[in-house]
């Protein structure tokens, strides 16, 4: 069987071609540090979620008001890793959550996840998210940061077909291919990132 790393360069090229920000990390700890640094750097002077600086209808503005603090959402993490992240967040003055995403629909700053597979052909992340907190964390976050172990990179969708079928067999299931940030070209065919979902997608390629 061909190993994941053979497709690594193709994956990086394809992901970058669709505006994903790809960085290599050596360990989980390095990934956590990346998240905290990114959250810290993000809009230093303002807490506002994207779009809330615009003149909005009264109802839309009300939803904006709900967000008062920088938030990191990491619903799918293993317990020890989450605890570590929560501790680092507290130190930095951010709120860290692993559930209750519906209380944060105004938006969170960072959604932090681990991908199950990467598809080199298209630079795609495969994330199984039967739980709704995971889905919401990857959608209402301004920045989605996703760790992808290099060994999990496969050639294309056909190569993960069996794995998909296994997950779909355990109903109910909600499986996602995510490729780059949310985008639209619906006004004059001009590309704009972050229409409903994340404005940025950060992929952390991890040696393993």
């Amino acid at each position: 069987m061909t190993t994941g790393t053979d497709y690594c360069q193709t994956f990086v090229d394809k992901a970058k071609a669709v505006s994903a920000i790809v960085t290599e990390v050596k360990s989980d700890d390095e990934a956590l540090k990346y998240v905290i640094d990114l959250c810290d750097r993000k809009e230093v002077c303002q807490l506002l979620v994207s779009g809330c600086e615009r003149d909005l209808s009264d109802k839309a503005e009300k939803l904006c008001d709900l967000k008062q603090k920088k938030v990191i959402a990491a619903p799918g993490l293993k317990k020890p890793l989450y605890d570590k992240l929560a501790e680092m967040s507290a130190k930095a003055g951010f709120e860290c959550i692993d559930s209750g995403m519906r209380d944060h629909l105004a938006g969170v700053d960072i959604g932090f996840t681990y991908a199950e597979y990467g598809l080199a052909e298209t630079g795609t992340l495969m994330l199984d998210c039967p739980g709704e907190d995971m889905r919401l964390a990857t959608m209402v976050s301004e920045f989605h940061v996703c760790v992808l172990p290099k060994s999990k990179i496969r050639k294309d969708s056909y190569a993960v077909e069996k794995m998909m079928l296994t997950r779909m067999g355990k109903t109910p299931d909600y499986l996602a291919f995510i490729t780059g940030p949310s985008r639209t070209a619906d006004i004059e065919r001009v590309l704009a990132l972050g229409v409903h979902g994340p404005l940025e997608l950060h992929i952390l390629l991890m040696e393993d």
């Binding site: 600086e53 909005l56 839309a60 959608m139 079928l165 909600y174 409903h196």
Partner: protein, 717 residues
């Protein structure tokens, strides 16, 4: 949505679009950018192979629609989903309204679905007092404007940022400027609260996978993920044609769909939903999910031997992206609800004859859509077949009947052409053009000069010019087609001169007639078939190595349509196939078979550019041969921008829609003039008629010639 009652009103609507500068510029830019983007997305892939595989798998699914539906329903229900079958649009809308009532839903968020457009779902739900919000940015914009989509993938492509800015000012009650990035942010926040409030989410589906009972959704904005996650009820409305046996079938289509639609390798999000998944706002923590499967004529269509291929469509919208007519007039005029070539066809089946009868005539038959279709659907053929069907049911217009009658009788047709030569005397100029257009053509035909009928047709010159060839290398028959027989016989004579010199023995069967394409274009299928049979008889003496024609349209029609026209008659079908196999166009014959060499031609070195006739480049897949012949034949070939885009002739199309023909010609000639070439070469007398007529009217000095004429002139004696 075009609302014309008759062709005249439809032409008025088309003229309105032609005057819309913003639309024209947008669609021009899009057409050019799309071609490059798609080519890049498919780079290093076997596109043809992929399309063939998709066509096969969709055909198989279509043939097993009932079984697939049963399997899908069983699997989905086992996973906790309610599955409904709706026989028509009304039934689908009623089912969804009933779900809303039963589950006490008031506010609905929706992601993009062409099927919901097909059933006019939003109107039906709003009539029930429900609040429906489209969340795809483009769909939201057109919903707020109370319009239909003008493109299947980019529904608001007809609108400018300023129009959107004004619209958003109205919606938010706050002044919005027109910067796109900012407008997108406004939509992000305005729609976010809609998701929060909604109790029902409605989506379409790109795939319904029978083996797992799953649906697949392909989106860029990610709105479908929110629509399927936040509200407690999810309804997915999809046509039965979305059913596929396996996940692999879906993944295969996914390789082509985004690439063909927008030139993306894949969209930002692809969502696979299986079963009643977790939902915190539902009473039992599980989402209530309904799959509404729409028939609306699909199961009937699946049984039709010819039209079942319509169900291969994956709704990528590429047939509009490459359509030269769409590019001129946009989706509101080139469709009813479904848009582009497939839109003309689906309108007839889903929205009826009345909605389709004008639209169906607006196909120039350039085959650009057929060439690009992700399902390999023979779109131009189906469009002509529907046109013929509507005429058979509603009666044929007089000019169409007359042309059919005339063409069926070769002697009458040729007599009329000979008579026309005398009739044109008072208006014929010495330069081969008609001075005034006859009264039958209104002033909108003035964009190009029309040629006169030649003094002596090719058939009358044949015996005199026929060369004697000793030890022939090849024995061929010539098919002249009407235009080269009666209008431009010199092009045929040029070919005869070269072939004679290259030791090709030629026959010209005198009983040959028009190839029949013009009547087929007008929906006269019976006449088309009769002409076909006459020509098959004329050439049956046979024994020819090749049948050569200098007209790309004749060649493509003889090669591809003849076997189809007589396929119901086994004895003729075989004959037609043998005949079709021998058909070759001039450039391919000279380049690939005769393999002429540069040393046999005087290298005159003038600059020449090329116009690729639709029926040569797409109809016969010939690309390199004529261009290489230009260089071999002694001229310097200069590439022209958009060389393979239609010149706007389209045979009888240019008579029916002169305004559109004129615009296509204008664009073509501007590109030609920009090359700085002195000569424009091509391989089709129809194109030559159009191009010469246009250049003459513009007062341009560029000369239009058939490739055969240059080669004959430059060949060393």
């Amino acid at each position: 949505m075009q609302k014309a009652d008759n062709l005249k009103e439809y032409r008025d609507e088309l003229r309105e679009s032609l005057d819309n500068d913003f639309l024209r510029t947008t669609l021009d830019n899009f057409a050019v950018a799309y071609r490059a983007g798609r080519a890049n997305a498919f780079k290093d892939m076997d596109v043809r192979g992929l399309i063939d595989e998709i066509a096969c798998s969709k055909d198989e699914a279509t043939a097993n629609l009932d079984a697939l539906y049963r399997e899908f329903k069983e699997k989905a229900e086992a996973a906790g989903v309610h599955v409904h079958l709706a026989k028509d649009a009304q039934a689908a809308n009623d089912i969804i309204a009933a779900i809303a009532r039963k589950s006490n839903c008031q506010k609905i968020v929706k992601s993009k679905s062409m099927t919901a457009e097909e059933t006019l779902l939003n109107h039906a739900l709003e009539d029930e007092g429900l609040e429906v919000t489209e969340t795809d940015l483009g769909e939201w914009i057109i919903q707020l404007r109370h319009e239909g989509p003008s493109h299947m993938v980019m529904p608001a492509i007809h609108l400018s940022r300023y129009q959107v800015g004004d619209l958003f000012t109205e919606v938010t009650g706050k002044k919005q400027d027109s910067e796109i990035e900012k407008l997108v942010k406004v939509a992000r926040r305005e729609l976010r609260q809609k998701y929060v409030e909604a109790d029902m989410g409605i989506t379409g589906a790109n795939f319904a996978v029978a083996e797992t009972g799953s649906i697949g959704l392909v989106t860029n904005e990610g709105n479908a993920r929110l629509v399927t996650t936040l509200p407690r009820v999810h309804v997915a409305l999809m046509g039965l044609d979305k059913l596929l046996p396996t996940l692999h079938d879906a993944l295969r289509i996914l390789k082509a769909l985004p690439r063909n639609a927008t030139g993306q390798a894949i969209t930002s999000y692809v969502t696979w939903i299986t079963g009643a998944n977790e939902c915190a706002s539902a009473p039992d923590g599980k989402k209530e999910i309904h799959f509404v499967m729409l028939d609306n004529g699909r199961s009937e269509l699946a049984k039709d031997p010819l039209f079942s291929q319509v169900l291969r469509c994956v709704r990528c919208g590429a047939c509009a992206n490459v359509c030269p007519v769409y590019r001129l007039v946009g989706g509101h005029k080139m469709g009813h609800i479904y848009i582009g070539a497939i839109g003309l066809i689906l309108t007839y089946f889903f929205h009826g004859k009345h909605a389709a009868k004008n639209l169906i005539q607006n196909c120039i038959n350039c085959e650009a859509c057929k060439d690009i279709c992700a399902g390999g659907i023979d779109l131009p053929r189906l469009i002509k077949e529907i046109h013929a069907r509507i005429q058979d049911e509603d009666g044929h217009p007089l000019p169409s009947i007359l042309l059919g009658k005339v063409l069926k009788n070769r002697k009458l047709f040729h007599t009329l052409l000979r008579t026309a030569k005398w009739a044109q005397k008072p208006v014929a100029e010495k330069d081969g053009f008609i001075r005034h257009l006859p009264m039958v053509f209104a002033k909108e035909h003035g964009f190009r000069a029309l040629p006169t009928i030649a003094e002596t047709p090719f058939r009358d010159r044949w015996e005199e010019i026929r060369p004697v060839v000793d030890n022939p290398k090849y024995r061929v028959a010539l098919f002249s087609g009407c235009v080269q027989d009666f209008v431009y016989p010199e092009q045929m004579e040029a070919a005869v001169k070269l072939f004679g010199a290259e030791s090709v023995e030629m026959s010209y069967p005198m009983n040959q007639s028009c190839c029949g394409l013009p009547v087929q274009m007008m929906g006269e299928m019976k006449a088309s078939r009769e002409v076909c049979v006459q020509n098959l008889r004329a050439f049956e003496a046979g024994g020819y190595d090749y049948v050569i024609t200098l007209c790309a349209s004749c060649a493509a029609h003889l090669k591809h349509n003849y076997p189809k026209l007589v396929m119901d008659t086994p004895s003729l079908a075989l004959k037609a196939q043998e005949f079709a196999d021998k058909i070759i166009d001039y450039s391919s014959f000279v380049h690939d078979v005769l393999k002429v060499k540069a040393e046999d031609f005087v290298q005159t070195g003038g600059k020449a550019t090329y116009h690729a006739p639709c029926h040569l480049c797409r109809g016969l897949d010939v690309h390199a041969a004529p261009r290489e012949l230009i260089s071999t034949g002694g001229l310097e070939y200069v590439e022209c921008n958009e060389e393979e885009v239609c010149c706007g002739f389209g045979g009888t199309f240019s008579m029916k829609f002169p305004e559109l023909s004129a615009e296509l010609l204008k664009k073509k000639l501007a590109n030609v003039e920009a090359t700085g070439a002195e000569v424009l070469l091509t391989d089709c007398p129809g194109c030559i008629m159009q191009l010469r007529g246009g250049l003459k009217t513009r007062g341009s000095s560029v000369k239009v010639r058939h490739v055969s004429e240059v080669l004959a002139d430059n060949r060393r004696k």
